[in-house]
Amino acid sequence: MKHPSFRLLVLSSCVCATLSVLAAQRPRYGGTLRVEMQAAIMSLEPATSTAMAEPDGVLKLRRIIYDRLVGLDVRGQSQPALAASWQHDQANTHWSFKLRIDIKWHDGAPLTPGEVLTSLQDSSPGMHLQLLGDTLAVSLDDPRPDLPILFATHPGMFIRRKSATPSNTPALGTGPFRVLEWRAGSRVVLQANEDYWGGRPYLDNIDVLMGRSSRDQLIDLELDKADLVELDPGEARRLQQEGKQLWASAPIELVSLQFDSKKAKVQDQRLREAIALAIDREAIHKVILQNYGEATASLFPQWLSGYSFLFTAAPDLDRARKRISDAPKPPPIRVGYDPADLLLRQIVERVAVNVRDVGIVLEPTALPRNWTIMLDNGMDITALRTRIQGPTLSEAVGEAASVSFVATSRTTPEEVYVSERQFLSNYTHVPLVYIPELVGSGPHLRGWNAPPWGDWHLDDLWLGASKP
């Protein structure tokens, strides 16, 4: 028979334990989040030309410094942001966005509707913007039912206060964090916006180190010098073995080979096809990507398009050899890759091994540091990592169209499939694998709730109790 006081002791212990667990899971304010990323961001301003590819990390920073008219939740649904509500006509050509009031810039000045209009005008081609009091009227030439999604995903549609004179510091925003210190390309320190309309973020500060290699990030994470880092798939297993937290997005980054068909060495379509047929994508997926992502011969991942499996990704060496059986032995073909991208280099080297089986010699070659996709880099083939934007196929197609794809965001998935099939039939663009975005963090980081397309919601994070 047990003593009643003993029962009370046990009961109180259980209550204390439950309370302590609940306390540990409950968000708490304070602390500095140390983030490292590979991109060396020189400016937070949107690119003015498609030839200037933006680093992936810039969107992650823009998102917490600046606000959009419309936001996205983790399911990809549009949510009110600076626009408190919106409505449209039957034809989806006239939209009106009711602007939120009492919004302040990071310097405390109020955000006016005129400033919203000014900020959006440059990045809204094909739209007629007009202010009607605190309502922004948008007129379109063509129907656009997904206009809120566009406002939520377009990389340039952030509300920022443009400076009259050129400045080395980023433009002011209204987002959850304001820029406390800016060192272009190397470091940015962000501070919580106490007056944020969505509520003060949990973190006091975010310290972002830029231009850190994948290896350095991993080391810093292991040495507890960083709380949040980007990872390559090859490092994920090791991180898991060491008890670190790992988050993987859906496959959102396409690795592909882009042939420069103007180059004599790869002008022959049979050669390009033979290369495409010789590649063992599944081996790349299983070994180099450590089973993350997916092997693909399509431009879009299966989760987004639903038809990716229709494109055969398996190698066919016999067919590849037949395609070039009557062609003269080609000279070595140079394949360029970003020298800072170790994963891309591994994939290219594996492709070179595969292609050697059909008698074609590929020479993996590091591209110059400042190469751009739109300019001739001297390579016969360039290995690319292309990240899809947005939660829907139409958004992804819209982004892809700006580079090479022929479809538009307004075509149906069936039409996209047909266009893609036609686009890939001349083998100037050979998809290889889709890889996810991998993020590793220390054991104290809480609140990670990233959407599948890889967006970071740093304003939702907090640090656990044991973090000093």
Binding site: A283, K286, V287, E349, R350, V353
Partner: protein, 616 residues
Amino acid sequence: MSYRTKLLLLFAVTVGVTVTIVAWTASITMRRAFERVNNERTAALVTQFQREFTRRGVEVTSQVEGIAHAKDTLRIAMEVARPNPDYAALVNEAGSLASAYQLEFLELLADDGAIVSSAQWPARFGYKESWITTTTGWLTQGAFLRQEDLPNGSALALMAVRAVIVGEKRMYVVGGKKLGSEFLASLTLPEGMRALLYRNSSTENAQGTLTDGAGTAISEERLLPLITAVRQRPAEQAQNIAWTKDAASAEAFHALPLLGPHQEVLGMFLVGSSLAEEVLLARRIRSLALIAGGMGILLGMILSTWAAAHVTKPLEQLAGAANDVSAGLWNTHVPVASRDEVGRLADAFNRMTEQLTEQRERLVQAERVAAWRELARRLAHELKNPLFPLQITVENLLRAREMSEDQFEEVFRESTGTLLAELAKLRAIISRFSDFAKMPAPQLQPVNLNELVTAAIRVFEAQFTAPGKPAITKQLDLAKRLDDIQADPELLQRAVQNLILNAIDAMPSGGTLRLRTASLPSGVQLDVSDTGTGLTREECERLFTPYYTTKQHGTGLGLAIVQSVVSDHQGKISVESEPEKGTTFRIILPFRATSAEPGNQVQEPASEPVEKVVRL
């Protein structure tokens, strides 16, 4: 060729041949010495290479065994031996192990030869290395040479294979080190030598690569014949390679084949030994030989000049003196400057000329005495003939004083007539001798010899056909075209007439007188031949001596006058005669003669232009 030139040539040839032989011998000796040293140094380097090769092989084998026995390797082997192994988790293991064990090449192969992990070519995971399963015996074998495929080509590697056995399955550990420039750099190279490593291309018919210890790629074009030869016959071979036109750039290369486990030629170890020192030394020897040869020849010239001054000069003086003697200067002397053979020769020459001069003087004296005796005899003979009638006549006159006046008158008249006649003879004799003594200088003018001969013989036409005398047949054989000569026609005609007269006198029983003229390149020729009694050798030799005659009533001045005339015209006269067959006098006259003082032929008989040919 003069003695001096011969001496110079002899010196030059002697010095040249000597220097050439010495230089050649020195070059051969030097080359052999260099070859021997090069061979020894090459052998030492090859031994060093083989020792280092073996040492590294043992080291590689030990390292691979270490990996095979490591716990991590066992863990990997256990993962690989599982029914559905996850190679993705193992793909980077080889790199870590290779780094830990300091191996440049490491591959972990599954039981079927599939690459689980590759340190040197990570992207080759999943590919099968069939050579590991098709051949047995790897596990007990030491290190071996292998052509290892790499992303950017291939490399020669010292490899070893060991296995980790888990249950019934094996996992092969294939590791090794590159055999390249670092390996070469570890060798201690003697000065002037270098070591190269040639690696066959992994693809057929493609060129291999040639590197040195610094990792510098070297063009194999010049070495290709040697490399090809070693490929065809895998054994150590040597060849000299000239890199540029300069022979000093040449190197003596020894190539040692590097064989794989199946005795296939995977590469070559080449040892190059610079021939620069040898070539430079050979050049120096050649230069010295040339300088020595040149100086020797120069010295030879100086010595030959000196020798000529001391040896050939007396000889030349002797030769000159001999020429003078032959030209008639018999009292020529040469200085005697030494007591050697040349000096004795000069002394003998001087004695010879002295004796010749004395003999000549004695001969001249004897001839002069003989001539005077002959003259005296002739004068006595010539004068005796008129004297005897004079004596008789005078005695008749003395006796006639006792006769009657009429008889005396008659005798007186006859006697005075006889006396006058004999005195006239005496005067004639004296006149002839006087004429010979006063031969006039020739007055030169153009004379045609044919015309002169024709005119001369015309005087004797009557004698040829005189009745009661044996007939003499005249035969003129005159040249059709005969250029004029510069001569005195009177003197020349007198000389020709003397010869004709002599010929007539030589044919008392008749015969043929033949006169023949001919044109010569430098003058004209006249032959006067008879078919008379001929002359003896002694007569021929004395024929032109004044006052010598073979005739009963001759004065001995006819032929002397002929000789004097011919001599005054710078001509020559000769005689050919055979007893009982006849005599031919031949006169050769130049086209242009210079005036000369007549008559001292008697005093200088040696200079007489007379040739005497006697056929017996």
